[in-house]
Amino acid sequence: MAAHDTGPASAPRLALRDITVKFGGLTALDSVSVEVPVGSVVGIMGPNGAGKTTLFNVVCGVYKPTSGTMSVDGTEVRPRAHRLTKHGIARTLQGLGLFGGQPVLENVVAGLQSSTRHTFLEELFSLPRAAREEREKKERAMATLASLGIEKYAAALPDTLPYAIRKKVSIARALVSEPSLLLLDEPAGGLGHDEIEELGELIRSIPGRDCSVVLVEHHVDLVMSVCDSIAVLDFGKLIATGTPAEVSANPAVTEAYLGVDAA
């Protein structure tokens, strides 16, 4: 089930056009345009301070761009953070951002806010619809956990679990709302080599859920192996776009990363 409208088939799931963000005199993003076609995995790379997370925060409504537009499925939107899931956009946070005091299942159910239909008063008086929705949400969350192979941890507190499992929980919380666009912020951070490979497989499987992916990541190997296309940022400017092969062959990219003249 998709809770969001699917626009014209030709429109990209997400289109950022000429996004500029200025903090006082500093230009964090300078007229950046990125497109995420339906069913694709798009990577955003760049050295520290290149503006990757700023770009994410623009999409999530944390920052308002100084200029530029954002459209989802061909419709221009400017969502606020807590209304993202209504537009079919879900996000994971750098460093997990799980709710430590609550079991894994509760963490995942929390991702289903946008499918809450019952009112505050129905909940106050514990009317049937509120109770039924709670049951349905828990079932959906269990199904999402199962699809990631971590359903046996449903009752555990996140802090008692290994980091790789917690990472999956945070991805489950984002996927449970069945988004059409998933933003992954540094998902490989803190993971070991084998775990990163497993994560890569997981990311590749997400388009199969009718969901496009935007990946901000430091880990170059991961980005190169999972992405259909890559955008490279440096000092707030888009310096290269293309397939992994094109980008890795681009001298400007090598220079930005290694600080040397590739020639």
Partner: protein, 347 residues
């Protein structure tokens, strides 16, 4: 605990407590009613502070708001010569509504503040109370407070338990209603939103929780519960005065929530019982020690504050989840001794 067990435990408890009112003497019934009144306030406070993470030092003032709203409404109705259940129920509803409105206003400010800053605002609220009542003395009658015309006990009770028994019934009914409604919220999606906001505001917002709205509603609901508690206290004492809702009372409420087990309604119950029983026990202890009148006078009241503070420090160090946390731990230990449970322990 499954919701059916909770329901059964709650109903049995309710019946047992009402049955208790028939055997207790009037003084004990009055204490029982006081516990129920405190429970309304502490339950609201434990939801706000424990579940939503908003610290309030001002719940006494919100209860006071309830008490004054009760007083104005009850006296107004009595002037119109209204009697019967209306004279009881309408003032209580007015108290809940009045405290909720004040809570909404404070909550709107609170949504922008964290930790010590929020504590400061709520502290100002409770400190301002005596100043407001004496500044607008013609309305609030200063430190003296207001006398309230209350609904008398029903006639059929005249020969039995008397006024105190009736007071206990009203108080228990209010507390039961408050606890049931708060429980519904805490175990439902709103509870999830409150906990998410407490644990991580950014993650909560990204999951789709409107953080500011959640905080404001939590503060409003918590204030409404405090208002109900204030109304019951006003009904019992037939008065509303600033002295009854002091800063010390406010701190006692918070200590009760923490010692009982912050964030749980059972904890609020244990804390409220302690709040009534402990000073009483200390009183009889000092009496039995046959101290000189001077020492006894000095200890009176102060000893309870000191002891409560000491217990709270002890609880925070030894059992941060309070009495309810200890009880839960004990129960889990008993269960695991019976049947070995498979807890998922990943390698």
């Amino acid at each position: 605990m499954s919701s059916r067990t909770t329901l059964i435990v709650g109903l049995v408890g309710l019946v047992a407590v009402i049955g208790l009112t028939f055997v207790l003497d009037p003084y004990r019934n009055y204490q029982l009613a006081t516990i129920a009144a405190y429970l309304c306030v502490v339950a609201g406070l434990t939801m706000l502070t424990g579940v939503n993470g908003q610290l309030s030092l001002g719940h006494a003032a919100l209860a006071a708001c309830g008490a004054y709203c009760y007083a104005f409404t009850a006296n107004g109705l009595a002037e119109q010569e209204v009697t019967g259940p209306v004279l009881l129920i309408l003032p209580i509803l007015a108290a809940v509504a009045g405290a909720a409105v004040l809570g909404l206003i404070v909550g709107l400010a609170a949504a922008r503040l964290h930790g010590p800053y929020l504590a400061g605002v709520t502290l100002a609220l409770v400190l301002a109370l005596p100043a407001i009542t004496s500044r607008f003395s013609d309305v609030f009658n200063g430190d003296q407070g207001l006398y309230i015309s209350v609904e008398r006990r029903p006639e059929f009770l005249a020969g039995r338990g008397g006024t105190e028994m009736f007071q206990a019934w009203v108080a228990i009914a209010c507390a039961a209603l408050v606890v049931i409604l708060l429980r519904n919220l805490m175990k439902g999606n709103f509870g999830r939103q409150m906990r998410a906001v407490r644990d991580n505001e950014v993650a909560a917002a990204i999951a789709g929780v409107n953080v500011a709205r959640t905080k404001v509603i939590a503060f409003t609901v918590s204030s409404a519960a405090a208002g109900a508690g204030g109304a019951v206290l006003a009904f019992m004492t037939q008065s509303a005065s600033p002295g009854a809702f002091s800063l010390v009372f406010s701190l006692f409420l918070l200590m009760a929530a923490v010692i009982g087990g912050i964030g749980t309604l059972y904890g609020a119950l244990w804390g409220s019982i302690l709040l009534v029983v402990l000073p009483d026990a200390i009183g009889s202890l000092t009496k039995s020690l046959s101290l000189s009148p001077e020492v006894a006078q000095r200890l009176d009241g102060n000893l309870a504050v000191g002891l409560f503070g000491a217990i709270m420090v002890l609880v925070v160090i030894v059992a941060p989840l309070g009495i309810q946390g200890l009880l839960r731990k004990g129960r889990l230990k008993m269960q695991s001794r019976g049947t070995p449970q498979s807890v998922p322990v990943p390698k």
